[in-house]
């Protein structure tokens, strides 16, 4: 089972810009490679990433086969209120993965 690692600062000042780093264990098979017998390997990638902050979408990314295996994605957001950040990845072969992180805003 794929695993995700999300790095969110546990505490932040109100209005501070925080950096969020996400990493998913996924092979991101491009669909352009062949095995040792010359058979094509089917595409198997993560196609979409969405991050919501207390239910409001703050970032959405569409991924293509040109993203490396174990996709890393970092972005920023403003710490507006304490609550939960929810991260959601979807992809080929019904790949779906959710992760949450909580943040305390002072």
């Amino acid at each position: 089972m794929a695993r995700a690692v999300v790095t969110v600062p546990p505490r932040a000042k109100r209005g501070e810009i925080i950096e969020i780093r996400t990493l998913v264990g996924h092979r991101m098979e491009t669909g352009f490679r062949h095995d040792s017998l010359g058979r094509p390997l089917a595409r198997d990638i993560v196609t979409q990433f969405v991050c919501t902050y207390n239910g409001t979408e703050i970032c959405r990314a569409e991924l293509f086969p040109a993203i490396s295996a174990n996709p890393l994605f970092t972005f920023t957001t403003i710490a507006v209120e304490s609550g939960t950040l929810e991260f959601k990845w979807t992809g080929d072969n019904n790949f779906a993965l959710n992760e949450t992180a909580s943040i305390t805003v002072e």
Binding site: F32, E62, I67, P71, T76, T77
Partner: protein, 173 residues
């Protein structure tokens, strides 16, 4: 530049030159061995196929809007040892206020099998228009980053990179 990139560029240049000759010959009725319109068409198609995959993908996103240069900063190592894992970051010079913010960032390449790399939708709550990820590059080529601002304008920057070991080249055991 890798041999493949060199060969592609040489082929594109040769096609362009031949197309130019063909067009000149058509305008001159005295010219010997003038090119037929089919020949010209096939030259045009091949040239377009070589150069336009990235442009097509960009036009699909941008439409007919003009693309300005500047505002976007693309961070990529100029010399890449391993095309499988290339760190990439894009930042856009924007105040990120509720009325003036970066709506989307798109990254394209020229010579991978597919022209798209990543498309990110942002909003004013991002605070800073700055993303980073790791990408695959199949060859030495030009990478383009395009930002769409809230007012609908598009801004782009490009960077040339040299790749010594291409992605997709490794054997599978």
């Amino acid at each position: 530049m890798t041999p493949i990139a060199q060969a592609l560029e040489a082929r594109a240049a040769a096609l362009e030159a031949e197309l130019q000759r063909a067009m000149n010959a058509r305008q001159d009725p005295q010219a010997n061995g003038a090119y037929s319109s089919e020949q010209i068409k096939s030259l045009q198609t091949e040239l377009a196929r070589l150069t336009s995959m990235m442009q097509d993908a960009i036009r699909k996103v941008v439409g007919d809007a003009p693309i300005n240069r500047g505002k976007v900063k693309l961070d990529l190592p100029p010399l890449i040892d391993n095309g499988n894992v290339v760190p990439l970051s894009v930042s856009v010079d924007s105040p990120m206020t509720p009325t003036d913010y970066v709506k989307a960032i798109h990254v394209f390449n020229e010579k991978n099998p597919q022209p798209n790399i990543v498309s990110v939708q942002l909003g004013p709550r991002a605070g800073r228009a700055s993303i980073s990820t790791r990408i695959r590059l199949a060859d030495s080529q030009t990478v383009t980053a395009i930002a769409q601002l809230a007012d609908g304008s598009f801004w782009q920057t490009t960077q040339d990179v040299i790749v010594t070991i291409a992605a997709c080249a490794e054997e599978i055991s």
